[in-house]
């Protein structure tokens, strides 16, 4: 048995862990040794008990597919990447949770706030069309900036049609 095979055999895994590993960003999940430096480094975990990155990775490794994909846990990662910087095993929880979100989204599990914000961008081409008022134009004018702020809606609609109109697998 080669060293790699032996390593593989001794690493707990599940179909779900392999599925996550097959998605861009999830590749390194089997390297996790559950040391918990991610949770110890995490500012979100410092602020609330409801988010524990090590535990989410453990749930993936153990194959809790439904719980991980249907709960909001992976959406609490701010992608600040402090954990990734600190991990001694070369694992990026931020990337793994990104892969999980993409997978969850492809099955329709998207928190409302993400769905709404994405809809806004895909409709208007940008986030702040509704907040862009005459008042803002005046402020811009006073600063010597071009008061007109233009974003391309047509391109956004093209993206919506291509990537969000039909059910596609995780990309």
């Amino acid at each position: 048995m080669s060293k790699t095979e032996k390593h593989k055999r001794l690493t707990p895994s599940s179909d779900f862990a392999e599925e996550v590993a097959s998605i861009h960003g999830g590749e390194d999940i089997a390297k996790c040794i559950q040391c918990g430096i991610c949770t110890a480094s995490c500012v979100v975990a410092r602020a609330t008990e409801k988010y524990r990155p090590r535990k989410i990775i453990q749930k993936i490794i153990l194959g809790d597919r439904v719980e991980v994909l249907t709960s909001e846990m992976s959406w609490f990662c701010m992608t600040c990447r402090m954990c990734e910087d600190r991990c001694q095993e070369g694992v990026s929880p931020a990337e793994i949770f990104h892969a999980v979100r993409v997978l969850a989204a492809s099955e329709g599990h998207i928190p409302n706030v993400f769905r709404k914000s994405a809809d806004t961008v895909l409709e208007d081409g940008w986030m702040l069309k509704d907040a862009y008022s005459d008042f803002i134009q005046d402020e811009r004018d006073d600063l010597g900036l071009d008061p007109e702020v233009t974003f391309n809606e047509k391109f956004a609609h093209r993206i919506k049609e291509k990537y969000f109109s039909k059910k596609e697998g995780p990309r």
Partner: protein
């Protein structure tokens, strides 16, 4: 040096002073800048979380516009610069993805070939212009005013892709503060997130994270905070107005070009000080030029 500014969605509406100050400072330091119009959202966080290719096409279009204009991009927001760099890295290493992006961009006659460089404003100031040139251009130095730097996670991480300073111990903002005559103040948790990205999912948690930062900066005795990202700037400002903030002294938050601009002798009206939500007096009073 010719650069095209990608402002993103938030700066032109929520923090136009950052846009104005950036243009004024870069022009003062000899950079020719234009603003990218007819752009689109970079896709950070929301599209990013839902579909990788949609995210890549959105950034691919911005890269292709800069290529058409034959200018390198300067991004002012951590999320935008991070998105552009991440997707550039993706498209430079995945030819199939690049072909798909270009097949969509062809509708508009655009093409991404990999020629454009993406720079965060801090890189332009520090690497392209250089600290010596900035020091030489200072005409109204600060008199030791104490500034706490907040870096912005997506500006410095992941290092392998963004290539800015040192992700664990960044000093790039502090060096600009000192070049302008300020005193860089250290504080615990300097590289920690401001909590801004949490506003979508849980405002209360975002507030706890932001206020922790403000508390540490206050304890370090800073007169002000300098930022390099619009979301950090807004989050660190608004968190000081929340119910949980209590009533300590409010610490002014300034985008770095606004702070630097005053020391370069730029009129304060061109730097947008009148739009600051927290009175910048403790900072500007330390500048030998001051407000006009």
């Amino acid at each position: 040096m010719d650069l095209i500014i990608y402002r993103g969605c938030t700066i032109p509406v929520r923090l136009p002073g950052y846009e104005a100050a950036t243009i004024a400072v870069l022009e003062k330091l000899g950079v020719n800048v234009t603003v990218m119009n007819d752009a689109n959202c970079c896709g950070a966080q929301y599209i990013e979380s839902l579909n990788r290719m949609a995210y890549a096409v959105m950034c691919g279009r911005l890269l292709a516009i800069a290529e058409r204009e034959e200018r390198d991009i300067v991004a002012l927001c951590g999320a935008c610069s991070g998105s552009l760099k991440t997707n550039q890295h993706f498209l430079d290493n995945d030819i199939q993805a690049r072909d798909e992006v270009n097949s969509i961009l062809a509708d508009e006659g655009l093409k991404y070939t990999g020629k454009v460089r993406v720079r965060h404003l801090l890189q332009v100031l520090m690497e392209d212009i250089g600290i010596e040139a900035i020091e030489r251009a200072i005409v109204a130095p600060y008199k030791g005013t104490k500034l706490a730097s907040h870096y912005g996670c997506h500006v410095t991480r992941p290092y392998e892709i963004v290539q800015v300073d040192d992700p664990e111990n960044p000093t790039i903002l502090d060096r600009i503060v000192e070049a302008a005559g300020g005193t860089a103040v250290d504080y615990p948790g300097k590289t920690r997130c401001c909590g801004g990205p949490m506003l979508a999912m849980d405002e209360e948690v975002a507030g706890v994270i932001g206020l922790d930062k403000i508390e540490k900066i206050g304890e370090a005795g800073a007169d002000g905070i300098v930022t390099a990202c619009v979301f950090c700037d807004i989050q660190l400002t608004q968190v000081q107005f929340g119910d949980k903030a209590g009533n300590p002294r409010k610490i002014p938050v300034l985008p770095i070009p606004q702070f630097l601009g005053l020391a370069l002798g730029i009129e304060d009206s061109a730097l947008g000080f009148e739009l600051n939500k927290i009175d910048p007096e403790t900072v500007v009073s330390g500048c030998s030029g001051g407000l006009k």
